[in-house]
Structure formats: C-alpha cells, structure tokens
Amino acid sequence: MKIVVCVKQVPDISQAKVDPETYTIIRTGVDAVVNPFDLYAVEAALQIKDNLPQTKVTAISMGPPQAEAALKEVISMGVDDAILLSSKHFAGSDTLATSYVLSKAINQIKDVDLIITGRQAIDGDTAQVGPGIAAHLNLPLVTDVNGIVEIKPDELKIKAMTEEGYLYYFLPLPALISIGKGIGEPRMPSLRNKSRARKAIIPVWTPEEIDAEYQKIGLKGSPTQVVKIFTPEVGGEVLFIEGEPPQQAERMVEILGQRHII
C-alpha cells in the first residue's frame, strides 16, 4: 500500500505571538513542533505498515524550509521518506489553497492508496484541510478516525468518533482519513530510524514541481482574508467568597439560588 501522511509544523502555542501589522504569526523565536494530531496520523500509517510490511509511507508538509525538521522527526518514527513543499508562493495560503497544494503534491506522488491527515492543526485549528484535500481529489472521506479495525490492501474497516458515539465504516481505497487521538500513542523513534532521519535528504517541491496554478495558491488563491486579530477579552471581575469553608459554601449556595441557577 502507498500512504501519504500530511504533517504540519506548528508553533508551540504557549510561546507564540502575532505580528500586529500584518496579522501573520511570528514564528521566529518560537519553538516549532509537529502538530500533535499529525503524530497520531503517522502512528496510524505505521500501524498499517506493521500489518502490511510492503507498505510505503511518505510524509509531506507545506511550510517554510525549517519545516524539514518536522519531516525528519516523523522519519525517525518510521516513515519511509518525505517531501517538503516550500516556496514563497505558498505563503499565506488559507485552507482552500493549502488543500489544493497538498492535493497537487499527492497527484504528483501518484498511485496513492491512502491519505492520512491529523484531525486538526493546533494553530489554525480549522480541521478543514483534510476534507479539502479529499474534495480536490474526489476521494471518499472519513474524519475523526480513532481506530483502524481491519486492514486489507484495498479496504479498511475503521472506527470514527462523533458527538453521539462511535461510527464504523468499510472504506474502499483510495481514500482519505483524518485522525483523532485514540488511535494509540505515537511511537518513539528507534535508533536506526533516527540515524536514517539524520541522513535523509528531503526534496523540496515548488509550484512548478507539483504543477500548481499560481492563482490558486498563496494569498492569491485564498478567498478568506484575516482582517483583524486580537486577544480575547476575559470575563469581568471575580467575586471572592470570603470566610471559612462552611460560610463560603452557604454564601455560594445562597447566591446561586438568588440568581435562579439552582
């Protein structure tokens, strides 16, 4: 089986800042990590490879040159090879443009049986890129997959999570799935794979290599426009309930009663 895993490098949220002029994220000085959900996506791919050893897993990422580090990290987990999609023309892509670029790259890789994305990226947080790729490529799609129950070369039995419970599907390949947690903890890098990752030479593809139309990528290809970024206001004043625990409890219950909450 031929699997492509989409991996996004994301800033470590707790440290990140936004440029107040351009509304873009200042990535310098902030540690970059592999999007946590994408580690689960990689784990899912490797679980399939464990079952069907002739499987080849390729990771792709669209991002700045530094995103190579994310690809090396997933190679050290056991991914076979990786491709970086990097060009100034990709910068500023929204989810429509991002999913277009990734789908063009997947076309270029050819004969892909399964595409795996994370459920969502923790920075953009949209969960739109996976379904977007499926739409561009006209592939069957199941989102929020958290278990691969049966693996056949041309079909998977999968379990997906919704607000109501777990949904089970037979999914014919080729197809796209997005992965949530629950698939199993991402595996640790092995020594052998670590040295493979160190030596790996990761090709960089630009719009030319993937035959992308310039008006469909980057800012030009992005119908959404961020017009303002601000920090959320947090609620008003907090009222401290004073006293010893018995008085605090009585007072609290009294207030909740007065407000008709209880």
């Binding site: 997906a160 919704t162 037979f170 303002k228 401290f240 407000r259």
Partner: protein, 399 residues
C-alpha cells in the same frame, strides 16, 4: 485584473511564448500555453499577438461583483443528534435571523433527510422563513459524501450568499467539501458573526491558536460566504409558533445517495449519560482532586446540582475518568448555565472549552490561579473542606 488562456480557442501556435517580453508563457506537456502570473506584467502583448484571440483579460473583481447579486439569502444547514434536530441548528437560526434584519433576505433551513411536521414547525418558529427538506431516507446515514452531494445541488439551485452549519463532526467536513467545490472561503468554528453593509460581507470572528487569539475573517470576493459556528455560543430565539414559513419537500438525485463508503453501525458512547454538551450544570474536577476515589466528591456535588461531571485533562490522562468527560481544547466545548471548576488551575487549553459558560465558580486553594480570570465567583480554600461543606449546604437547602 488578470489574464488567462481560453484553451478551447488556442491552436498551440506558440506565438505568445515567443512574444512575451518577460518569458512568462511556456508550453506545458499538452502543448498548451501556461501563463506564469508571478512573472506576467499584464503588458497585453500576447493578447494582441495571438492569432485566434485565445488570450483574454479577466476582470476578476468586476465579474465577482456581477455574480454577487445572484447570491441572496442565508442558508442554515440543519443537523440531527440523538434522533432529533440538534440544538446548534436552532442557535444558527437565531443568529441567521439577526443577520437577515440587515441583509433583508430570507433565512432558509435545509434539512438533509426526512423531517416530521412537528420538526418543521419548530424550525419555522425558531426563525426559518423557508424550510427545504430533502426527503431521501439515505441522508440519515452518516456519510459526508452523500450529504455533500445533496447539499451541493441545493446550493447550485438556491445560490445563497451565506451558508452556516454547526462546527461539529458533521458540519465541518460537510462545508469543507462544499467550499472546495465552489472554490470559496470557509471560516471555521466561529463564535461571532456580523454583516458589514453595504458590501454585505459576513464578518466572521473565531478563536484560533487554542483560543489564545481571536481573528476576524471575511471572504470578500467569492460567494457563497461559508462559516461553521461553534455550538452553545449563539442564542436561539424564543420559539414563536405564529411565525409563517414556506415548506419545500424535495428529493435529491438517486446517484447522489450512492457512496463507495459503507456505513456499518453506530455504537453510542458507553458513557453517554455524561452528555456534557446538553448539561445545564457541570461540576469538573482537576488534578487538585489528587486521586480517582476523590472523584466521588465531584459526582456527589454534581448529582445534588442535577448536573454532569466534567474533568480537566490530567485526570483523564491518569485514567481516573473517561475521556468523554474532558472539557477543553482536546475534549468537549461546553457552555452550561453553571460551571464549577474544582482543583483546576485554568490552563488556556481548559479555558477554551468552558469560558463561555454563563456562571463560573472556581474552587481553588491558589488565589493566583488563572481560572480566576474567567470565574464569576472564587472560593479560595482547600477543596477537601469546601466541597463537603457545599454538599452539606445543598442538602440542607433541598430539605
């Protein structure tokens, strides 16, 4: 302005490639010219030189403007949960109704799958001016492909200027697929929506970066404008059963409901009794609870309040309680009337899941804990003393 090759008219003579002063045109493997718009200076030489008039200027902005006027009305995509129309649908109708007072256009609820007369009445009472029911039984099956094809056809017929759906496991992938088909923008997980007149732009505000920043986004040049909206944030209207609405029952094309994916079954979550999403009151425990056994304290308090039990992430990670109870970025987003946070510090990943609760009570021994930034009431003290006293006080009140 931009420029493009009309493939049907091109005879592959190659004149344009030679004439372009900045070498912006190249023949591709199909021997058709391709214009690299990053190099192109829009000088227009190729347009004049092409013997068949195959190269044309495109007036994107202008064209879009013409198209704009064809797109009218707000479409709300209904969804079902547990056999009934989900609460988020009514919240969306509430919001759509408020937007329509500016846009002066009707609100259309689209229900993919059969719906009862009672349900249709409820949709109209909650703000729908029109209800379109796509009656094919197959639309009840949770297959995003089927729903997307049915909705696609409807959007082509209706040309709404705005499409809204819940930011749920159904709504997000559904609208994502649709946005690609229509090559338009989609804003995820909005917590604020407004319109800007006279441009009729939908101003979409959403949290990103795990809630640490808010962004306002608009789709200026494409239609429809699409957004998914976070459940429990918008207010539903008080139902008005005197409201009148048009009811349209249709069927989608049979080929739309065929899908390569086979749905096998739905296994309801074993812990469905937690149902955090619908609870009016939630009592959540965090790492401060210290051991799984102490969760009985939280349960007891929740029971007395007729509420559900929630949790921050550490108790879930440590296996004290099932993931279905987790509130926050990687758990549920909730907005009950009352949220009691016991022994929870209030990390941003937790706050994003509960900060729109109506009333927040924090029980914590640390008066600097970040949870106090969003709390309405703080009880500073040892939870092992405070919670039993709360239980006592509630028992007394209920006698």
């Amino acid at each position: 302005m931009s420029i493009k090759v009309v493939i049907d008219r091109c005879v592959s003579c190659g004149v344009c490639v030679k004439e372009c002063p900045v070498a912006a045109i190249a023949m591709n493997e199909e021997n058709l010219p391709e214009i690299n718009l990053d190099k192109c200076t829009l000088c227009g030489i190729c347009i004049d030189k092409c013997p068949t008039g195959a190269i044309v200027r495109t007036h994107q902005a202008q064209k879009a403007q013409e198209d704009y006027d064809q797109y009218r009305g707000i479409m709300v995509v209904a969804e079902r949960e547990d056999g009934e129309i989900a609460r988020v649908t009514y919240e969306l109708l509430g919001k759509a109704t408020r937007l329509s007072t500016h846009l002066k256009q009707p609100v259309t609820a689209v229900h993919l799958g059969p719906a009862t007369d009672q349900e249709v009445r409820e949709l109209i009472a909650s703000g729908a001016d029109r209800v379109i029911i796509v009656e094919n039984e197959e639309l009840n099956i949770p297959l995003v492909g089927v729903r997307a094809r049915a909705l696609h056809d409807l959007v082509v017929d209706e040309l709404p200027e705005i499409i809204l759906a819940g930011s749920t496991s159904q709504g997000r992938p559904l609208l994502s697929k649709l946005a690609v088909k229509f090559q338009t923008g989609l804003t995820a997980d909005c917590t604020g929506l407004d319109v800007e007149m006279p441009d009729r732009h939908l101003l979409q505000t959403r949290p990103a970066w795990g809630g640490s920043i808010m962004a306002t986004i608009l789709t200026a040049h494409n239609r429809p404008q699409m957004a998914t909206v976070r459940p429990r944030v918008m207010r539903r209207l008080k139902p008005d059963y005197n409201r009148k609405g048009e009811v349209i029952r249709i069927k989608t094309r049979p080929e739309n409901v065929e899908d390569p994916v086979k749905f096998i079954e739905l296994i309801k979550e074993s812990t469905s009794k937690v149902r955090l999403d619908n609870a009016d009151i939630i009592v959540s425990g965090g790492r401060g609870i210290k051991s799984p056994d102490n969760f009985t304290l939280i349960e007891k308090l929740a029971n007395l309040l007729n509420g559900a039990v929630g949790s921050s992430r550490p108790p879930v990670d440590d296996g004290w309680i099932d993931h279905a109870h987790q509130v926050g970025q990687t758990g549920r987003t909730v907005a009950p009337k009352l949220y009691v946070a016991v022994g929870i510090s209030g990390a941003i990943q937790h706050l994003v899941g509960m900060q729109s609760s109506e009333c927040i009570v924090a029980i914590n021994k640390d008066q600097e804990a970040p949870i106090l930034k969003v709390a309405d009431y703080a009880i500073i003290g040892d939870l092992f003393k405070v919670v039993p006293e709360m239980i006592k006080a509630l028992e007394k009140r209920q006698q």
